[in-house]
């Protein structure tokens, strides 16, 4: 998708989607690391309903969109499911993510939302995420220089 093909309502729609997304993270208390840690310790497993409830709703969109609509109204993309190739990176990266999530109770979307509910302390986690992302980017940019691999974007 090129920027030139974007509809004027593209950014407003992204903003509306983000507002709902952030409202949901705030309402579900996923923006509170304590609640996530309680979940991981089986003291309050309600968060299962956040992830699988959210996946159920988005699953309906992924299922229905290609059947009801020819293509998205605001871009020249086609409706494709979010399918990523499987390799050992999924396991290794997922495990590193899991250690970080289990240690802090924080994941990216919830961290942004946490800022929105007034939690300035979360800036430590956000700073950490940028540092971690930068470190892996430096390392993998060197890999990419010798071995060009397909980019992924979610």
């Amino acid at each position: 998708m090129t920027d030139a093909d974007r509809h004027p309502l593209f950014m407003p729609l992204i903003a509306v989607g983000g507002l709902l997304f952030g409202f949901g993270l705030g309402y579900s208390h996923m923006a509170r690391p304590e609640v996530v840690l309680d979940f991981l310790q089986f003291e309050d497993i309600g968060l299962l309903f956040v992830m699988f409830g959210g996946a159920l709703v988005s699953g309906m969109a992924y299922f229905l969109a290609p059947k009801l609509l020819d293509r998205p109204a605001l871009t020249n993309r086609t409706f494709e499911r979010r399918l990523k190739s499987f390799d050992n990176h999924v396991l290794g990266g997922g495990a590193v993510f899991g250690v970080g999530w289990g240690l802090s109770g924080i994941c990216p979307g919830a961290a942004y939302a946490s800022l929105g509910v007034g939690n300035l302390t979360i800036l430590w986690a956000i700073a950490g995420m940028f540092i971690g992302t930068y470190a892996q980017g430096l390392w993998r940019s060197r890999d990419d220089a010798s071995d060009a691999s397909a980019p992924g974007a979610d």
Partner: protein, 164 residues
């Protein structure tokens, strides 16, 4: 009609704060992702913002591949913050929440989350909401991996007496 109350009580023990808050919150999260998908065909995950935003300040090839999407990802993230703020000022406690989780846990955990989400091709929203919603086998395996590891780590840290 006789209902054995024991199974219900056992069930309730795992939901001290009920289910509604989580289910309704999850519906909103799914709705946000769905609206963006229906209008644009984009699977909006929260973690790519980290890499795409670094492209503003770093010339590393790994970040430059996100130049075309970095502007809407900034809007998406700012809207997530704003959406949570709307919740906080309407149904929440008015911007008063602050975590008690120790700073070192947030910082070190954040670094690992930053590394892991980028190598593992997604986070709790990319894999967990959009990927699972797509019935992606990769995402299901990714979610199972980070969920099991996170449970183990959180239990271990708690067992070592670290609170909160």
């Amino acid at each position: 009609m006789v209902i054995d109350p024991l199974p219900l009580q056992v069930f309730a023990e795992y939901f001290p704060n009920g289910i509604g808050r989580y289910a309704i919150g999850g519906l909103f999260v799914g709705l946000g992702a769905s609206i963006i998908y229906l209008g644009t065909g984009i699977s909006a995950g929260a973690s790519t913002f980290l890499e795409s935003t670094l492209s503003y300040v770093s010339g590393q090839s790994r970040f430059q591949q996100y130049v075309s999407s970095r502007d809407w990802r900034v809007v998406f993230t700012a809207s997530i913050i704003a959406g949570a703020a709307i919740y906080s000022f309407t149904l929440g406690d008015g911007f008063q929440y602050s975590t008690d989780v120790q700073v070192w846990r947030l910082f070190v955990g954040g670094i690992l989350v930053g590394v892991g989400t980028r190598i593992g091709k997604g986070c709790t929203s990319g894999h967990g909401i959009c990927g699972v919603g797509s019935a992606s086998r990769t995402s299901l395996i990714g979610v199972a991996t980070f969920l099991l590891v996170a449970i183990g780590v959180a239990q271990l840290v708690a067992a070592m007496g670290v609170t909160p």
